[in-house]
C-alpha cells in the first residue's frame, strides 16, 4: 500500500519542485533497482567517511582547545547524527525510491559526513601529525561547506513527509533556502584572511581581500535566507498538519512533537552557553547532536510507518513525563528556595521537605497530567475509549445488551453509516445484527476493519474513512469493543439457529397440514361423492324396480357397479402418498420396487438390513424425491440410488448424470426434503454444479 500511494504521488508529477529533484525523480523512475543500488552506494560512502572520521577522532588533535567542538564525544555525537540521517535516508529511499525525502536525508547525511571528515582531517593534520597531506585544503573545504549544511535541515522540513512541497506557493521558500545556501558557500569560499580556531594557522587561498565588509553583509544575508527557509519549513509542517488526515497526520504529529522536544532541549543546552561559556563544551555539543538525531529518526519511523500505532501512546507518555519532570523540578526548587529562606541556607530540612513534596505529589500529579494530556491532545480517543469502557461495564452489569455495540460504535466514532457485520463460521456468512445475511458487502468506499479475537474472525466493521481521521482510535475502539462484539455475534448466531429451527418446524407442520388437506379433499371430492352417487343410483334402481321397469333398473345397477370399480381405483391412488406396503419387506425391496417405476436406468445399492421404521420411511421418501427430481428436472438417463449404514448413520444418496444446477428454493421439493431430513436430526447435502449432474446425500441418524 505504501508503494502504491507513493507511485500515485510520483505519477502526479513534480509540480512546484526544482530541477535537481526532477533529476532524482528521473533516476527513480528509470528503475527502482538502480535507484535502490544508488541509495545503498551513497549510504556505503557515508559509512566509509564516518568510519574514517571516527578513526581520526580516536587519534585526536593531541591538544585541547575550547574551539575543538567536534572533537571527542561532540564529534562522535555529530557522526551519529550524520549516520542517522544517512541510515533513515537509505531505508526510506530503498523502500520508496519515488519519495524524495529519502534522498534528501541521504544527501544531508552525506554532507554532514563530509563536513565532519574534513574537520577531523584538518584538525588532526594541522595539530597532531604531519603525515596527513592536504590538511590545509581540508580546512578550506570544510570552511566552504560547513555553514551551508545547516540549510539542508530546512529542505527536510519543507518536503516532509512526501518529498513534495505543500503547494506551488511554497516555491519561494525552497528558493530562499537554495539562495541562502549558495550565498553561504560563496562567502565561505571568498572570505579573506585566516580562519577561526582551530584552523587559525590556515588562511583562505581564495579570499578576496579588501571586501571584508561586503562579504560579511552577504554572509548575514545568506543566513537570513536560510533561517527564513527553515522558518517557512516549520510553517509548512504546521500547514500540513492542519490539512492532514489519517496516517499523514500521525507522521507530522510525531515529527513535530519529537522536533519540539528536541528544539526545547537544544534551546536549554544553548542557553547554558550564556551561563557557563566554557567547560564541558564537548558534552554540550554531544547533547545537541543526539537531540538533533532524534528528529530524522522520528521522521523515518513516521515515513516507514514502523509501529505507528504505538507512536500515539509514546507521544502521549512523552508529553506527560516531560511536563511531570518540569513541574516536579519546579516544585522541588521552589520548596528548597522558600524553606531555605525561612530556615536558613543549606538546611537539610529544606531538601528533605522538597523531596517529600515531590514524592507525595508524584502519583496524583501524574494521573492529573495524564488526564489533561488525554483531554487536550486526544480528546476524541479519551472520550471514545471511556464510552466503550462504560458500555462494557453496563454490559457486565446487565444494563446494556451486547447488540447495542453497533450504535455505541456509531456514536463513539461519529459515523452514522458505520455497520457491524458478524461472521458466522459454520455457514461462512456475514450477517447484520438482526441475523439477516449480507451476501456481498457493498463496495461504497467504506473501509473494512476486520474484528478478531484470539485469532478467530468475529466480523467486520464497515466505516466511512471520511468521518474519522484517526486510525489508531478506530482500531483501539474496535479492539476495546471486541468482547461485546463476540457476545453479540454469539447471540446473533443463536437467534439465527433458533429461527432456522422454528422455520423448519413450521414448514414441516405446514407440509403435514397440506398433506392432510389434500387427503381430505381427495376423499371428500372423490371417494365420498362417488359413494353418494352410487347410493343414489341404488335408490333409483329401487324406485325403478317398484315402478315396473326392471330392465332400466339393471342398467342403473351396471352404472353403479362401474362407479364402485372407479372408487376402488381412486382409493388405491390415494394410498400412494402413504408409506408403501413394500417397506414391510425392508428398505432394499422397497427401493428396488420404486426404481422399477422410474422411466430411467436406476442402479440400486441397498442392503437387506432393517432400520427403524421411521428412518426407513424417511429414507424412502428421500429416494422418491431424489428420483422425481432427477427424472423431472434434470433429464437424467442414469441414476444411482444407494442406501446403507455408515458410522451409525443411514446414508441415502441419489446421483444422476443430468443437467445439475439444482438449488433448494423455498417451497420446492428439495427444501421440503431438507426439512424432512432435519426433522429426523439428519443432514442433507446437495452437490449440483451446472452440467455435472446432481448428487443428493442425506444422512439420517439410526442409532446403533
Amino acid at each position: 500500500m505504501d508503494e502504491h500511494a507513493s507511485a500515485q504521488a510520483a505519477a502526479r508529477g513534480d509540480r512546484g519542485d526544482s530541477a535537481a529533484w526532477a533529476q532524482v525523480g528521473r533516476v527513480a523512475r528509470g528503475g527502482q533497482l538502480t535507484a535502490r543500488r544508488i541509495a545503498a552506494l551513497i549510504w556505503g560512502l557515508c559509512l566509509v567517511i564516518a568510519l574514517a572520521a571516527l578513526a581520526l577522532l580516536a587519534i585526536g588533535p593531541g591538544r585541547v582547545l575550547p574551539s575543538d567542538v567536534f572533537s571527542g564525544v561532540g564529534g562522535m555525537s555529530f557522526l551519529v547524527l550524520a549516520m542517522t540521517f544517512a541510515s533513515v535516508g537509505v531505508l526510506v529511499a530503498r523502500r520508496v525510491p519515488e519519495s524524495r525525502i529519502g534522498w534528501i536525508f541521504l544527501l544531508t547525511g552525506l554532507a554532514n559526513c563530509v563536513q565532519l571528515l574534513t574537520w577531523q582531517y584538518a584538525d588532526v593534520g594541522l595539530h597532531a601529525t604531519d603525515l596527513l597531506p592536504g590538511a590545509s585544503a581540508a580546512a578550506v573545504f570544510n570552511s566552504v561547506i560547513s555553514e551551508a549544511t545547516a540549510g539542508l535541515l530546512g529542505l527536510s522540513l519543507l518536503l516532509f513527509p512526501d518529498g513534495r512541497l505543500p503547494s506551488r506557493r511554497w516555491r519561494p521558500a525552497l528558493a530562499s533556502l537554495f539562495v541562502g545556501m549558495a550565498l553561504l558557500v560563496l562567502t565561505g569560499t571568498i572570505r579573506p584572511g585566516r580562519y577561526a580556531e582551530p584552523f587559525a594557522q590556515v588562511s583562505n587561498p581564495f579570499g578576496v581581500s579588501g571586501a571584508r565588509g561586503v562579504i560579511d553583509g552577504v554572509d548575514f544575508a545568506g543566513w537570513l535566507f536560510v533561517i527564513a527557509g527553515i522558518g517557512l519549513g516549520a510553517a509548512a509542517m504546521v500547514v500540513r498538519l492542519r490539512r492532514a488526515r489519517g496516517i499523514e497526520r500521525q507522521q507530522l504529529e510525531l515529527v513535530l512533537v519529537v522536533g519540539s522536544v528536541a528544539a526545547t532541549v537544544a534551546a536549554l543546552v544553548m542557553a547554558t552557553w550564556l551561563v557557563w561559556p566554557t567547560g564541558h563544551l564537548q558534552m554540550r555539543i554531544a547533547l545537541l547532536g543526539l537531540c538533533f538525531a532524534s528528529v530524522p529518526l522520528a521522521a523515518g519511523v513516521g515515513i516507514l510507518r514502523y509501529r505507528l500505532y504505538e507512536i500515539d501512546l509514546v507521544v502521549n507518555r512523552t508529553l506527560v513525563y516531560v511536563a511531570l519532570t518540569v513541574i516536579l523540578a519546579a516544585a522541588f526548587a521552589v520548596t528548597v528556595v522558600l524553606l531555605g529562606t525561612l530556615l536558613g541556607r543549606g538546611s537539610g530540612w529544606a531538601t528533605a521537605a522538597a523531596t517529600l513534596v515531590v514524592a507525595v505529589a508524584f502519583r496524583p500529579l501524574r494521573a492529573r497530567l495524564q488526564d489533561v494530556v488525554d483531554r487536550r491532545f486526544n480528546r476524541a480517543r479519551y472520550d471514545a475509549l471511556r464510552r466503550v469502557a462504560n458500555f462494557l461495564e453496563d454490559l457486565r452489569a446487565g444494563r446494556a445488551t451486547p447488540e447495542e455495540v453497533e450504535p455505541v460504535l456509531r456514536e463513539v466514532l461519529s459515523d452514522p453509516r458505520l455497520e457491524l457485520l458478524f461472521f458466522l463460521p459454520e455457514s461462512e456468512l456475514y450477517v447484520d445484527a438482526r441475523g439477516v445475511p449480507v451476501s456481498d458487502i457493498p463496495d461504497d468506499g467504506r473501509e473494512r476493519i476486520p474484528v478478531e479475537r484470539g485469532g478467530q474472525p468475529l466480523g467486520v466493521v464497515l466505516h466511512d474513512p471520511a468521518t474519522q481521521d484517526n486510525p489508531i482510535l478506530l482500531r483501539r475502539v474496535v479492539e476495546a469493543g471486541g468482547l461485546a462484539i463476540e457476545i453479540a455475534r454469539l447471540h446473533v448466531a443463536l437467534r439465527r439457529q433458533l429461527a432456522e429451527v422454528e422455520a423448519s418446524r413450521a414448514r414441516i407442520v405446514a407440509a403435514g397440514n397440506e398433506e392432510r388437506r389434500r387427503l381430505e379433499r381427495d376423499l371428500h371430492d372423490g371417494a365420498q361423492q362417488r359413494l353418494v352417487s352410487i347410493g343414489l343410483a341404488l335408490r333409483h334402481a329401487q324406485h325403478e324396480l317398484s315402478t315396473s321397469s326392471p330392465e332400466r333398473a339393471r342398467h342403473t345397477l351396471d352404472g353403479a357397479l362401474a362407479e364402485v370399480a372407479l372408487s376402488i381405483d381412486e382409493l388405491r391412488e390415494l394410498a400412494h402418498g402413504l408409506p408403501p406396503a413394500q417397506l414391510d419387506a425392508g428398505l432394499g425391496p422397497a427401493l428396488r420396487e420404486l426404481a422399477r417405476r422410474v422411466p430411467a436406468r436406476v442402479e440400486v445399492k441397498a442392503p437387506g438390513e432393517r432400520f427403524d421404521r421411521g428412518v426407513e420411511t424417511a429414507a424412502y421418501f428421500i429416494a422418491c424425491e431424489g428420483l422425481t427430481n432427477a427424472v423431472k428436472h434434470a433429464d437424467a438417463t442414469r441414476i444411482v440410488l444407494s442406501a446403507g449404514r455408515e458410522n451409525g448413520k443411514l446414508v441415502v444418496s441419489v446421483s444422476d448424470d443430468g443437467a445439475g444446477g439444482a438449488t433448494p428454493t423455498p417451497g420446492s421439493g428439495l427444501s421440503g426434503l431438507a426439512d424432512r431430513v432435519a426433522a429426523y436430526g439428519g443432514s442433507l447435502r446437495i452437490e449440483s454444479d451446472r452440467g455435472a449432474g446432481t448428487t443428493l446425500v442425506a444422512e439420517l441418524p439410526c442409532g446403533s
Binding site: R521, H524, D525, Q528, Q529, R530, L531, V532, S533, G535, L536, A537, R539, H540, H543, E563
Partner: protein, 218 residues
C-alpha cells in the same frame, strides 16, 4: 315443486335430478357450477335451489357465496346447500337466514327425509343437518339448562333445531302432535325461550341458544 340444481359432479347431479323427478318434482335447470345460477333462477322461477357448497373454480365456498347472493336477490326462494362435511358456524349462519337448508350430502340416501327437508325449505322453513345440531348440543355439554331436559325433550329440541315443525317432529317420533306441543312448551320454558309459534322464529331462538357459546348470530 320446481327445482334448480347446481352441482359440479355429473353423476351426483344426475342422481339428484332423478331423485327429485322420481318424487314427482320438476328439475327445471341443472348447472355444473354457480355461474349462471341467478340467470337460471330468473328464467325458470323455481321454488327451490339445491347447490353443492364446493364447486369450481377454487372448490372452497363458491356454493355458500352463491347461496347468499341468491338469498339477497330472492329472499322468498328456498335454498338448500349440500356439503361434504360438518361446518357448524357457517351452517348456523346460513340457516338463520330462513328458507334455508344445510345438509350433508349423504342425507340424500334417506330419500323420504331428504325430500321432506327440501319441501320445508321451499316453503320458507329451515333444515339443519342433524349432525350439525348434534355438534351444537354437544358443544353445550356444561349447560345446566340443557341438563334439565329429559331425554325425549332433548330429542324434540334437536328436531326443532333441525327446522322440523310440530307435525314433522310428531311424525318422526311416532307421537301425537298434542304430545309434541307439550314437550315443545316444556323445552322452551326450561331454556327461558319465548314460547312462540311453530315456525322460523322458534328455530332462530333455539339456534341462538344452542350456538351462544359459539360466535353470535349475525
Amino acid at each position: 315443486m320446481r327445482v334448480v340444481i347446481a352441482e359440479d359432479q355429473v353423476l351426483l347431479r344426475e342422481g339428484l335430478g332423478r331423485l327429485f323427478e322420481d318424487a314427482g318434482d320438476e328439475v327445471v335447470a341443472s348447472l355444473g357450477s354457480a355461474d349462471g345460477l341467478l340467470a337460471a333462477i330468473a328464467e325458470h322461477d323455481p321454488d327451490l335451489v339445491v347447490l353443492d357448497i364446493r364447486m369450481p373454480p377454487t372448490f372452497t365456498d363458491e356454493g355458500a357465496r352463491a347461496a347468499r347472493e341468491v338469498k339477497q336477490a330472492h329472499p322468498e326462494l328456498g335454498v338448500l346447500v349440500l356439503s361434504q362435511h360438518i361446518e357448524t358456524t357457517h351452517a348456523v349462519e346460513l340457516v338463520a337466514l330462513g328458507g334455508f337448508g344445510y345438509l350433508l350430502k349423504d342425507r340424500v340416501l334417506a330419500v323420504g327425509e331428504f325430500l321432506a327437508s327440501a319441501e320445508r325449505v321451499a316453503e320458507g322453513g329451515s333444515a339443519l343437518d342433524p349432525k350439525v345440531v348434534a355438534s351444537l348440543v354437544s358443544a353445550r355439554g356444561e349447560d345446566h339448562q340443557l341438563a334439565e331436559l329429559t331425554e325425549r325433550e332433548c330429542e324434540v329440541l334437536q328436531l326443532m333445531a333441525e327446522g322440523l315443525t310440530n307435525a314433522g317432529i310428531a311424525k318422526r317420533l311416532y307421537l301425537s302432535e298434542r304430545t309434541i306441543e307439550a314437550h315443545v312448551r316444556h323445552v322452551l320454558t326450561k331454556l327461558d325461550l319465548p314460547v312462540s309459534e311453530d315456525g322460523h322464529r322458534r328455530v332462530l331462538a333455539v339456534l341462538a341458544h344452542l350456538s351462544a357459546t359459539q360466535e353470535p348470530l349475525r
